[in-house]
């Protein structure tokens, strides 16, 4: 771009207005550069938490919070399973990998078993005279004191009895040992030379060696991600015979970040190179290329600055999507350059295109901004990022246009001229003449596309939200199977007014669950580690009466010892209830599902394992008013379905409003804008959403609407001619390039966006000229 500030004589008449606009643009640009530079260099504002893209379920916030708590308790943990046909080699490899892992400053071993054991003993010790498991309780109720004394006496001679954590006088009946050994916690671990292993269920001769660690930094920290990825990558390369499975948020965030980085470079660099190649090929001059690059740079700075101002941080996927902005924002400069070359003046070209540029930019920006109405935080960012980028590019063209002087040797695009004269114009003219047949054909195409779309149905599957590579998800699934972990996406939500009622309901529900599913579905809940207050009181009474007052004297007589101090001590202790708050220690987080107390209501989960889809589950839930079956996948699908309907309505409303607004300006010619646009929308859905229409397809249609209307507006404003067709072709080519690259994304959302916009714009470029006529030309004289 040629800023001829020195030579005042060539400035147009309204030079004062132009100078103001230029000054405004310059101030905004300077502020944008300063603010973006400050944020990017100072705060590292880019984040990678892919979970933030997901919508929040507002219908049941407590259930949502409990589900989150259940699935996020181990966000700072990582687990690696390692297998080798030779267990000795596997042990060696596991020790090596573990050593490397814990040598880093970011990963430490998980809370030691000794610590957990001590925490558990410390937790339960004061309450040991009120905790009984069902089998022990039944035994105490059914047997006489003499029988119980004999059993306890015999137990003392048995070399392979249940371990006794406390001394005889502290716990003569080993109630603590029996309570601990029946806690329904955890996964099956078997030791191999002291190393934790899991026996392979398919071949019990083989073991998976298990390494677990706790992250000292956030799993979204790039340094930790890089370390864990490189460690495993190197390990796999040097030990190809070792099979590895991983579990933990860190591996998903690392994969997500790598993917986002790769896509930013693919889409961003691909689009940029494509645009440079196109500009060089068409204009064959350095100045237009400079104009394009300045517009792109200003658009990008504007997008970054506004997004950082509004959101403080920018998601990496937003950046990847924002790269498509390169393809869209360059439209304005293409239209301008071609017009300026023809009119041989920047300011005349701006004047000639002012309406088209404004209507085009505002419609595209509005289409992007409509994404703000969705509940997806990631998509809201994309909306702001893209709108601000487009506004920046548009303002740049308007501000700098008067100072652009086309090169005197501006190249004539020979191929496009030839194509336009021989193909586009004759076909367009021929189609214009076939008024009746054209209407019939359009009607038939609408009907055929509509029928086909109706047949393809909807796609609200939760798979649309998958942001991790399938191999990693399969890996995670295998680990959960091996560890026999309860499902974190399907569980029973239990409500009660008091903690006691909650625990009582849980216990009752657990019994019924075992009964109706014939033991095929197992439940895990808070009641298994915390008996209700009534149960504790009743067990306390049973223990004192039956064991301490009746049985202990008999047992001590057999042992020829005086146990009276132990009896007196037990009887003198006041009853203290054990409640949920005692389980707050972080190392005990995995002991039971979480519970939440809000506004006089207690809610918790009964997590499920085994056959979690057992048909009897639904019947069980129907029998209890205070129990709900939560299926997160199904809930998210319902949520997506709701958003799909909302966006369909927004889309229809937008089309209606656009038709009204454009009718005001273009009167009857408005149909020339709307018909090809609607055809393009339907065609893109037909081409890209064969597996069913998702909400993301519809959101992408909003973009097609915005970008497609640009094309039509330019044709209507300046008429169908060689230059407008070339500008439209160049714009479409760059958009197709950007979105085409996006359709190759590994992230389903971006892929769906890319595919829809790619096919929509291509179709729009193909059919729109058929609806427009030539106009009398404006010349530079």
């Amino acid at each position: 771009m040629n800023l001829e500030t020195a030579d005042k004589s060539i400035l147009p008449r309204k030079s004062a207005n132009n100078a103001w606009l230029l000054a405004l643009w310059f101030i905004m640009l300077t502020l944008g550069v300063a603010f973006t530079g400050y944020k990017v260099l100072g705060d590292n504002p880019f984040y990678h938490n892919l979970l933030d893209l997901l919508p929040q379920d507002k219908r049941n916030p407590v259930a949502n919070e409990l589900g989150q708590a259940l699935s996020s308790r181990f966000e700072d943990r990582l687990l690696i399973l390692l297998k080798h046909p030779d267990p000795e080699k596997a042990l060696e490899h596991a020790q090596q990998l573990q050593h490397k892992l814990f040598k880093s400053p970011w990963v430490v071993p998980t809370a030691s078993s000794a610590k957990i054991q001590k925490s558990l003993q410390a937790l339960y010790h004061p309450y040991r005279l009120q905790l009984l498991n069902a089998a022990t309780r039944q035994n105490l109720e059914q047997r006489s004191a003499a029988q119980l004394a004999q059993e306890s006496y015999e137990e003392l001679f048995t070399p392979a009895a249940i371990p006794r954590p406390l001394s005889f006088l502290d716990d003569p009946f080993n109630l603590s040992g029996q309570w601990f050994s029946n806690l329904p916690i955890g996964s099956p671990i078997s030791l191999y030379k002291g190393f934790n292993t899991i026996l392979d269920p398919e071949n019990t001769q083989q073991r998976w060696f298990m390494i677990t660690g706790q992250l000292l930094k956030d799993p979204f920290d790039l340094e930790v991600q890089k370390f864990s990825t490189e460690l495993l990558h190197d390990f796999k390369n040097t030990n190809p015979s070792v099979q590895l499975l991983t579990s933990g948020l860190i591996f998903h965030t690392a994969a997500g970040s790598a993917q986002a980085r790769s896509e930013i470079s693919t889409v961003g660099l691909g689009s940029l190179l494509g645009i440079i190649a196109l500009v060089c090929c068409v204009f064959r001059s350095g100045l237009p290329l400079l104009a394009v690059l300045i517009t792109l740079a200003c658009g990008t700075i504007s997008a970054l600055a506004v997004s950082l101002l509004l959101f403080d941080n920018i998601h990496m996927v937003t950046l990847a999507f924002g790269c498509t902005l390169l393809g869209v924002s360059v439209d304005y400069v293409f239209h301008f350059l071609i017009s300026a070359n023809r009119l041989n003046s920047g300011i005349k070209a701006r004047h000639h295109l002012r309406s088209a540029l404004t209507v085009g930019a505002l419609s595209s920006i509005s289409a992007y901004l409509l994404q703000l109405t969705t509940a997806f935080p990631g998509l809201q960012q994309m909306a702001v990022f893209s709108s601000a980028g487009l506004a920046g590019a548009w303002l740049t063209v308007l501000a700098l246009a008067p100072y652009y002087r086309p090169p005197s040797h501006a190249a004539k695009p020979i191929v496009s001229s030839w194509l336009f004269r021989l193909c586009v114009l004759p076909i367009s003219k021929a189609v214009q003449r076939l008024t009746t047949s054209r209407a019939l054909l359009i009607g038939a195409v609408f009907l055929a596309l509509g029928f086909s779309l109706w047949q393809s149905g909807a796609n609200d599957g939760v798979r649309n939200l998958n942001t991790s590579p399938p191999a990693l998800l399969e890996n995670e699934h295998q680990v959960q199977q091996l560890l026999k972990q309860p499902s974190s996406s399907r569980y029973l939500l239990v409500k009660a007014t008091t903690e006691t009622e909650l625990l009582h309901t849980l216990a009752q529900l657990q019994r019924k669950l075992t009964s109706v599913t014939e033991g095929k579905t197992q439940g895990r809940g808070l009641h298994q580690v915390l008996p209700s207050l009534e149960q504790q009181q009743s067990d306390h009474k049973l223990i004192l009466d039956k064991l301490y007052q009746q049985t202990l004297p008999l047992l001590c007589a057999k042992l020829q010892t005086n146990c009276q101090p132990a009896i007196d001590k037990a009887l003198s202790q006041d009853f203290q209830s054990l409640n949920y708050h005692a389980f707050n220690a972080p190392e005990l987080a995995g002991l039971a599902p979480p519970a939440i107390q809000t506004q006089g209501q207690w809610q918790t989960l009964l997590s499920l394992s085994g056959d979690i889809n057992h048909p009897a589950l639904m019947k069980l839930v129907l029998d209890h008013d205070d129990v709900e079956l939560v299926d997160q996948s199904e809930d998210i699908s319902k949520l997506l379905s709701g958003y799909r309907v909302s966006i369909s309505n927004i889309l229809l409303l937008t089309i209606g409003l656009l038709t009204l607004t454009l009718s005001y300006r273009y009167r009857l010619d408005c149909w020339r804008l709307m018909v090809p646009l609607c055809l393009s929308l339907m065609f893109s859905l037909w081409a890209a959403a064969a597996d069913g229409i998702s909400m993301f397809h519809l959101m992408a249609l909003l973009l097609v609407l915005g970008i497609g209307i640009d094309t039509s507006v330019f044709y209507l404003e300046v008429g169908l001619n060689r230059e407008s067709w070339l500008a439209s072709s160049l714009s479409s080519a760059t958009s197709i390039l950007a979105f085409g690259l996006l359709s190759l994304s590994g992230v389903e959302i971006l892929k769906q966006f890319g595919a829809i916009v790619l096919s929509g714009i291509f179709f729009c470029w193909l059919v729109t000229p058929l609806f427009h006529r030539q106009k009398a030309r404006v010349t530079h004289s």
Binding site: Q117, L156, P159, A160, I185, Y192
Partner: protein
């Protein structure tokens, strides 16, 4: 060694091949690891053992020890029958199925936690069976081993590798010659059990 130690009579129940192997191995100057390897080889060939035992259990804070005796019968295929005869009559059967499972706290959280349910007794059974039958490979899963002596007079100290097992068992000391002769189990709560074994010829 406790003062209630009871004298035992030694027998030589092993087959000729094992005796020959012991003789050859005894002649070597064995290191600690080699001793454990040699004992492993020898014990692996022991298909069946039987004899009597005398147990002396001292429970912390109780003034008198608990004395008991009885008989035992071990086969590699079926496991151990431990028959208490005095002061109570009770038969305990420990089958030969190895690998009791521990339970972790929710897997990823704390993989080496607590002996679980029936497995807690199963684990102590497995350790006891391993100690009695000299299944050192099996014991190696749970304990670090320190050995002293040679095949004709050896001593092995077992120290738990796993902190949760260490919460229950501080260490185990096994002494023997051609077979295991005495076992001392030191528990985390302060209890100590001494078992003296007398093998009979099959």
């Amino acid at each position: 060694m406790l003062h209630h130690l009871i004298a035992v009579t030694k027998h030589r129940p092993l087959r000729l091949s094992a005796v020959l192997l012991s003789f050859i191995l005894c002649s070597l100057n064995t290191s600690a690891d080699e001793l454990i390897d040699a004992l492993n080889i020898r014990n692996a060939q022991t298909n069946e053992l039987q004899g009597s035992f005398k147990q002396n259990k001292r429970i912390a804070q109780l003034p008198l020890p608990l004395l008991s005796q009885g008989r035992f019968h071990y086969t590699q295929a079926t496991g151990l029958i431990w028959s208490l005869q005095t002061p109570i009559e009770k038969e305990i059967i420990i089958d030969a199925q190895p690998n009791a499972e521990l339970m972790s706290l929710a897997g990823i959280d704390a993989p080496q936690a607590i002996p679980k349910g029936d497995n807690s007794a199963r684990l102590t059974s497995e350790i006891f069976l391993g100690v009695l039958a000299g299944q050192l490979t099996q014991l190696e899963q749970y304990f670090e081993m320190t050995s002293a002596g040679d095949l004709s007079n050896w001593s092995i100290l077992l120290t738990p590798r796993n902190a949760s097992i260490a919460g229950y068992i501080s260490n185990i000391k096994i002494d023997g010659a051609e077979t295991t002769e005495s076992i001392e189990i030191y528990e985390g709560n302060g209890d100590v059990t001494l078992i003296e074994l007398t093998f009979s010829v099959l």
